[in-house]
């Protein structure tokens, strides 16, 4: 984390889910459902729509970048100095759906944003761990 060379970071999480894409799509795009698994929000499935995800520990600023119903959804994810893009991809399989989430665009070389992110994300996760611990 201390090297200064520009570098795009990326996190990918993939999972086989035993439900069809349209069901997952609803969970990814309907406000009350998003709140149940991710955070409180004012999401709308419209390109350029700006929304927030709100946890007890702070907010994430987002903007919808791309939507292709039941196939792909992408939005910016800016929190405490960190600018990134989250992209969901749904691929139907024989038994359900292959769900892929990629978060990318984090570039340590961007100086100020990176310093902010280092500080911000530490806080973010401290709070997150607390929330997760108390949720059980």
């Amino acid at each position: 984390m201390t090297n200064a060379a520009p570098e795009t970071r990326s996190v990918v999480v993939e999972r086989e889910i035993a439900f069809p894409p349209d069901r997952i799509w609803r969970a990814l795009t309907q406000q009350h459902l998003i709140e149940e698994w991710l955070m409180k929000n004012d999401f709308k499935p419209a390109v350029d729509h700006r929304f927030n995800l709100r946890g007890d520990w702070g907010a994430v600023d987002c903007k919808v970048l791309a939507i292709e119903p039941n196939r792909t959804l992408s939005y910016t994810w800016d929190a405490m100095g960190l600018e990134s893009v989250v992209t969901w991809t749904l691929t139907p399989t024989g038994k359900g759906t292959h769900l892929r989430m990629e978060q990318s665009g984090f570039r340590p070389g961007q100086g100020q944003a990176y310093s902010g992110a280092k500080f911000g994300w530490q806080k973010f996760f401290e709070k997150l761990e607390e929330v997760v611990a108390h949720a059980d």
Partner: protein
């Protein structure tokens, strides 16, 4: 910067010192007296631990009248944080929550 990391690890390796740091993270800014009351060690010992934490950049002190208030500096932990693995853990948990929701959802 291995030196910074070494100082961090060293300063957090002591359980009493770590407990003091964790209390500052959890409860916010506090005086030496307040920290001593719950630490189980003497005030000079607490002050010494705070000095080590301060050198590592983990705490900051603020003088107000005769009292010194200490607060945690979470930014100093940054070298220990690997953003990628933290985020992966975050999303793995969110995928679990999403799967739970999918099972509960109406058709």
């Amino acid at each position: 910067m291995p030196d910074t990391r070494d100082a961090l690890f060293r300063s957090l390796a002591d359980p009493t010192r770590r407990a003091i740091f964790e209390r500052l993270c959890r409860d916010g800014e506090q005086t030496v007296g307040a920290l001593t009351a719950r630490s189980g060690v003497s005030q000079p010992a607490v002050s010494k631990h705070l000095g080590v934490l301060k050198q590592a950049g983990l705490v900051r002190d603020r003088h107000e009248g005769r009292q010194t208030h200490y607060s945690a500096q979470l930014g100093a932990l940054a070298p220990l944080v690997d953003w990628t693995s933290q985020m992966a853990g975050f999303w793995q948990r969110k995928f679990d929550d999403l799967e739970d929701l999918l099972k509960r959802m109406d058709q």
